[in-house]
Amino acid sequence: MGIQSKHLVLDLEKCTGCRICELACSFYKHGRFNPKMSAIRVHYNYELYRAEGFNACTQCGYCVSYCPTGAIGVVNGVVIINYSVCSGCLACVKACPIGALISVNGRPFKCDLCLGSPQCVKYCARGALHVS
């Protein structure tokens, strides 16, 4: 879609695999701790002690056109799901080219940068996460 937007960036060199970002995300968004419910997921290689990549929404907006109910929109460069309109069809989850959209309790869930103050960035003690 070519929308220039802010999104999460992980410095793989700095990441130590503590997964505090995932815990912070699941807690602030769902009120419970579960890395599987996190909008950011770090791929950490425990054999080499190295982060090899991460999964988080790049706010590209690709999912917007796949939503049959028009629940996904772009606000200030951030792709946001309007849950009052969302039917839970999960077409967006299937559409996302990088698997950043996940299904949590039958609803799509993605990074919305905590509407300006991302908690994962705040809790990263090593400073490996930032928004750019």
């Binding site: 695999g17 505090i20 419970r32 701790f33 425990y46």
Partner: protein
């Protein structure tokens, strides 16, 4: 169960019948024993008894997590295993970091109890509610890295694996369990317990959440956790030492106070310590990692790219390993230490015990108590890297002299006779860790009373070692500050060891890391109380007084476990090297450790009778351990305070 924080279930697995059942964690058990070490103590007290042989199918292996595991609590990625130890025959427990523990919780279990014995090598694969017994004949005989890789290749990369290597299979009494490749459940021979059950590995993956009772309050704790670790008093010191170097940063610091075990603990100072210190190790570090939910991040990986040890790559080595296989053997080549650390990790061997067994061989060879013909070509001379590496191999595969050494330093020394026992440094059969009671008196008491033997992780104090006067004043009162902060006096050390043992009993049950509670002393009872209440919703957990009682209960229960095994005060002695031989060199020169006054003070504070070495009945009753008192009374006559000190006779 409505208690939040907990997963709420315990998984029981019987390897003989290949059956499993999960039962709810009872609310009173959780309230009374918290989790982790406390829960394991409660379960093991009921599951085994003094007639259970540690390597028999009847022995149970308990894998336990605590309420904080998997929730965003400080350095809470840890878990523990407990069992009757094949090395010491008494209480055995071992803790490890990594990311395995939280996965157990996410799979829906607070603890996993493994009993019985398989007829063929097997691994247990736990994926939420499903438990699969995976035939592991194909990886029996493989090292820990290969078996971990195999399981992750077959079942998926998101499985976390704990596995034994060849040492555990060969029932080496101090074999370890390796978790996620490099994190070790090292001490007390838990690997041999798995080996005796034909259990090669346990893999787990979970997708369930950990709930929080009061999220709004809990956020405050998380904020505090973040604040302490980024801008608090200890944030910078922790990052400059543990963060930058990992635990090996201690080597030079501890050498400076004359407490660095050197030459089989002959002395506490080594002039070449800087050759194996943190700065030297930093040259070989390839990456820095951390355990789950930790902001200290002290883990690292090292790799050697040239010379004879080219290709040695492993997690660590940690401080204890660097000392046990370095200064303790007079080996000053850090590359050799990295190589030996890798071997021990691959074979699944406890580096501390292995190092002390090897230094024992070095010393008795020097003293002429073992002949060349016994050694099968190994020349155990001080500083010999080849001899140390060879010994690690023969111990793992029980070849030649290794078969005897694999039984641990006590049995080996006993079989050799001729006064070799003097050089076997252990308490209750567990080889000593990398401290020295002559240079830090409280360590003597810590080692002596520790339930698993000469071990620094059940109550090691740092206020005396590092002289934190404000913290000493806060915890023990202004009038005691002088003595408490003097590491070279025995005074008040029984008190601070008891206090630290209670704290660690709680910390080991919550479960949090010793880094953060031992050093830096960031979290004490008050923090844990503030953490547990919003997490679990248990009112009592929010009271420091209740947590202290809980700590005492857990510490007493574990001590009573040993008492039931017939191990009491007679085993709470230090090797003569620390009580008779004055420190020969270094800053702590001339000191010995006088255990008796510390032990007396410890017993008094514990509510145990020093003369008989038994708990007062009232002590156990006051802690809600009536059932323990009742069972012990079948074998022993417990003293009562109201009769004064009673004459105690053991029943036949």
């Amino acid at each position: 169960m409505y208690l939040k924080g907990y997963a709420g279930r315990i998984l029981y697995i019987d390897l003989s019948k290949r059956k499993y059942v999960s039962e709810p964690l009872r609310e009173d058990t959780a309230k009374g024993y918290l989790g982790g070490s406390g829960l394991a103590a409660y379960l093991l007290w009921n599951l085994v008894n003094e007639n259970t042989h540690p390597l028999s199918p009847e022995n149970a292996l308990v894998i336990a997590t605590g309420p904080a595991t998997g929730a965003l609590a400080p350095s809470s990625g840890r878990f523990m295993v407990a069992s009757k130890s094949p090395l010491t025959g008494v209480w055995g427990e071992s803790h490890a970091g990594g990311s395995f523990g939280p996965q157990i919780k996410y799979a829906g279990y607070d603890a996993i109890v493994i009993m019985g014995k398989s007829t063929r090598p097997v691994s247990i694969i736990i994926d939420d509610d499903s438990v699969v017994f995976y035939d592991s004949s194909g990886i029996w005989g493989a090292n820990t890295r290969d078996s971990t890789n195999h399981i992750r290749d077959v079942f998926g990369k998101d499985f976390h694996v704990m596995t034994i290597g060849q040492a555990g299979e060969n029932l080496v009494k101090f074999s370890s369990i390796m978790v996620d490749y490099y994190r070790a459940l090292g001490r007390t021979g838990m690997g041999a317990v798995m080996g005796s059950k034909y259990l090669k590995a346990v893999a787990v993956r979970g997708s369930k959440p950990v709930e929080v009772h009061d999220p709004d309050k809990y956020v405050e704790i998380m904020e505090e956790f973040l604040r302490i670790n980024t801008e608090g008093r200890w944030a910078l010191p922790a990052q400059l030492s543990l963060g930058k170097y990992g635990t090996p940063s201690l080597v030079t610091v501890i050498n400076a106070i004359g407490r660095l075990p050197t030459k089989n603990h002959w002395t506490g100072y080594w002039e070449h310590a800087d050759r194996i210190g943190g700065d030297e190790l930093l040259k070989y570090r390839v990456s820095r990692g951390s355990c789950f939910s930790c902001m200290i991040m002290c883990k690292h990986m090292t790799s050697v790219d040239d010379g004879v040890y080219e290709g040695s790559i492993s997690g660590g080595p940690e401080y204890e390993t660097v000392v046990a296989l370095g200064s303790n053997l007079l080996i000053d080549d850090i590359k050799a230490i990295i190589h030996m650390n890798m071997l021990c990790n691959l074979y699944g061997l406890d580096t501390i015990s292995a190092g002390k067994v090897i230094s024992f061989v070095f010393e008795i060879y020097e003293k002429g108590l073992i002949s060349d013909s016994d050694l099968g070509g190994i020349k155990p001379l001080w500083g010999s890297q080849n001899a140390a590496i060879e010994l690690i191999k023969v111990i793992t595969f029980r070849q030649g002299i290794g078969n005897l050494l694999a039984e641990g330093v006590v049995k080996a020394a006993k079989a050799m006779g001729k006064g070799a026992e003097y050089y076997a440094l252990h308490v209750k059969g567990l080889e000593v860790s990398a401290q020295d009671p002559r240079a830090q008196k409280s360590v003597g008491c810590t080692w002596a009373v520790s339930v698993r033997g000469a071990d620094h992780l059940r109550s090691l104090t740092t206020v005396d070692e590092l002289g934190y006067r404000d913290i000493a004043a806060e915890r023990f009162g202004l009038d005691k500050v002088e003595e408490v902060c003097d590491r070279l006096t025995e005074k008040h050390k029984g008190l601070i060891v008891k206090d630290q043992e209670d704290l660690f009993a709680v910390v080991d049950s919550v479960i949090m890391c010793k880094y953060g509670t031992m050093w830096p002393p960031m979290y004490y009872f008050d923090f844990i109380a503030r953490l547990l209440k919003p997490l679990t919703g248990v009112k009592e957990f929010g009271e420091v007084k209740y947590l202290r009682i809980l700590g005492e209960r857990i510490a007493n229960l574990k001590r009573c476990f040993n008492l039931r095994e017939g191990v009491s005060k007679e085993s709470e002695v230090l090797p003569a090297r620390f009580t008779q031989e004055p420190m020969p060199t270094g800053p702590s020169k001339g000191y010995t450790c006088d255990l008796e006054p510390m032990l007396r003070e410890y017993y008094q504070n514990r509510g145990w009778d020093y003369e008989s070495g038994l708990p007062y009945e009232e002590t156990l009753e006051g802690l809600g351990l009536e059932y323990v008192a009742k069972e012990l009374s079948k074998r022993l006559k417990l003293p009562r305070r109201d009769y004064g000190v009673t004459q105690v006779t053991r029943r036949p």
